[in-house]
Amino acid sequence: MPPAETTVAQPEVTQPTAASVGVARATPTDTVGLGRARAVAFVTPALVLIGVFLVFPALWTLYIGTTDFRLTGAAARSPSFVGLENYARALADPTFYNSLWLTLIFVLGSAVIGQNGLGFALAWAMRDAPRWASRLAQTLVLLAWILPSSVVAFLWIAMLDRDAGTINVLLGQTPGVAWLIEYPMVGIVVFNIWRGTAFSMMLYSAALSSVPPSHLETARLAGASGAQTLRDVVLPHIRRYALTNTLLITLWTFNDFTPFLLTAGGPGRESEIIPVYIYNTAIIGGEMGYSGAISLLVLLMNLLLALVYLRAARTGQRTAA
């Protein structure tokens, strides 16, 4: 799924308002007389859809991962329970470690370092740039985020093509380097930086506008260098934003399937990050049981990241209040 499909919003707990107590009799907060039965009926369709098509698949993964489910053959009709065999196999499988390692590189390179760094640099540079320039840059960066991933993937295939790609033409060599074959990881890292920097840029723009100008002015008068100002004045203000941002883009990048459109994991397994690995073993290889076990690890990793994020967001809210 594209990066923005997953969502984490700020948690919010609303308290019943005292004013509403006088009107409703059934329940203290029932201002409009919805009644408990009708309220439950209103919530039900959504909960059924979420239950069947989101919660159930997630829980089912637990079971699938302990079977020898296959797409074809005898095990497709009557899968049998194999216990922790799939997990043991994953832990002994060098192709799994290869994917984990590539995923780590992909997440660190393109999200934690790439999008974070470039997003901050753009937001920082935008403060001093003329208005038209920052408008232009902002529009372009956002456009890269908005365009459908199939289109964006082809734009980069065209950029990196060996025979006539824009990069090789700029370097004055046609045919030049077959980037996606010789450096597939660099290709998908650069691609994902291009694709996802918008979120970090917008977030850091908002964060930087929360730094009081008077603090910057004081630092300037005290003769602080740019690096000192950044470290001692700006960083304390944006630290929380940086944490939130890093957690979110890590979660999205970790789950990003789009690199499949560029390299399909190849050549060989040289860019087979976990999402592509799951697809290749499950749908191409037909080993549903084994890839179910891998999926569970992804779910757990996501859960961990989301919990840390929610905790950080919540403590942030408390300190802000």
Binding site: T6, L34, A39, V52, T61, A137, S150, V151, G292
Partner: protein, 275 residues
């Protein structure tokens, strides 16, 4: 000293900007030039031979226009399902004392980010397979709805919370039933919120690749996002003209919807959501 520093700083800002802008602009320029070039190349360049030949190729391709119809069907179908069920749920969660509401909201929040298409592609494929919905639009719509609903409910509840209850209270005093209140008061007042969720859903589905790619095998049923990968010439190399023109046509609605949402409601970030 300070002047020199200021000059260096200025230069640095322009360098970051120059490179940054070029990095983001360069791949996109292809989308503006290649559709009108005959023959198009991989490299970005102004059209040598301006022509609309590539655009007419879209009409000649048996799958191209139907795939846009499929994208529309999937987007609109999902949008209707998401907006209606999210609106009902969000309204009840905002206004009534649903048992375990806070825990429910927290769980929704967690679910929306944890259960991604990547993590759940194996069980989702098997579920749709068992339900005999492989190769149907309904299967894709249901799966996408399940994935988008938690965030939609969350955002809509936030929105409805900001609507004062006094209208509903006075309507109730005059004897309106809860369904009448919903239809004649809440829906009109909440229209901007509903519209935002609707546009957001359409944009998400229009661009989504993984779910339809998993669940639809028949090229007659595939949406544009999936079909785009299959445009090859008889010689086996990518049909650049068709890909370029089709990419442009396929991207325009998304950009337009963003511009619409942007000009009407401003560009806001709801957590991770672009609206």
């Amino acid at each position: 000293m300070n002047v020199a520093k200021a000059v260096v700083r200025r230069i640095l800002v322009y360098v970051v900007f120059g490179f940054g802008t070029a990095f983001f602009a360069l791949p996109m320029l292809w989308l503006l030039s290649a559709p009108f070039d005959d023959p198009p190349t991989y490299a970005v360049r102004p059209p040598r031979n301006f022509s609309l030949e590539n655009l007419s190729q879209i009409l000649d391709n048996r799958y191209a226009v139907p795939s846009l119809v499929n994208s529309t069907l999937l987007s609109v179908g999902t949008m209707v399902l998401v907006v209606v069920s999210a609106a009902l749920a969000a309204y009840a969660l905002s206004r009534a004392n649903v048992p375990g509401r806070d825990a429910l909201l927290y769980a929704l929040l967690l679910l929306s980010s944890v259960v991604t298409g990547t993590a759940a592609m194996v069980p989702i494929f098997l579920l749709i397979y068992q339900l005999d919905l492989i190769d149907t639009h309904l299967g894709v719509i249901l799966v996408l709805t399940g994935g988008l609903l938690p965030a939609a409910i969350f955002l809509l509840k936030d929105f409805i919370d900001t609507i004062p209850r006094s209208y509903e209270e006075s309507a109730r005093v005059f004897g309106a039933s809860p369904l009448q209140i919903l239809r004649h008061i809440v829906v009109p007042v909440a229209r901007p919120g509903l519209a935002t969720i609707g546009v957001w859903t359409i944009v998400q589905v229009w661009g989504s690749f993984l779910v339809p790619f998993l669940l639809l095998r028949d090229p007659d049923k595939q949406p544009a996002a999936v079909l785009l990968r299959t445009f090859y010439t008889e010689g086996g190399s990518p049909n650049l003209g068709l890909i370029a023109a089709f990419s442009l046509l396929y991207s325009i609605p998304v950009v337009l919807m963003y511009l619409l949402a942007w000009s009407r409601y401003g560009f806001r970030f709801h957590g991770g959501i672009k609206s």
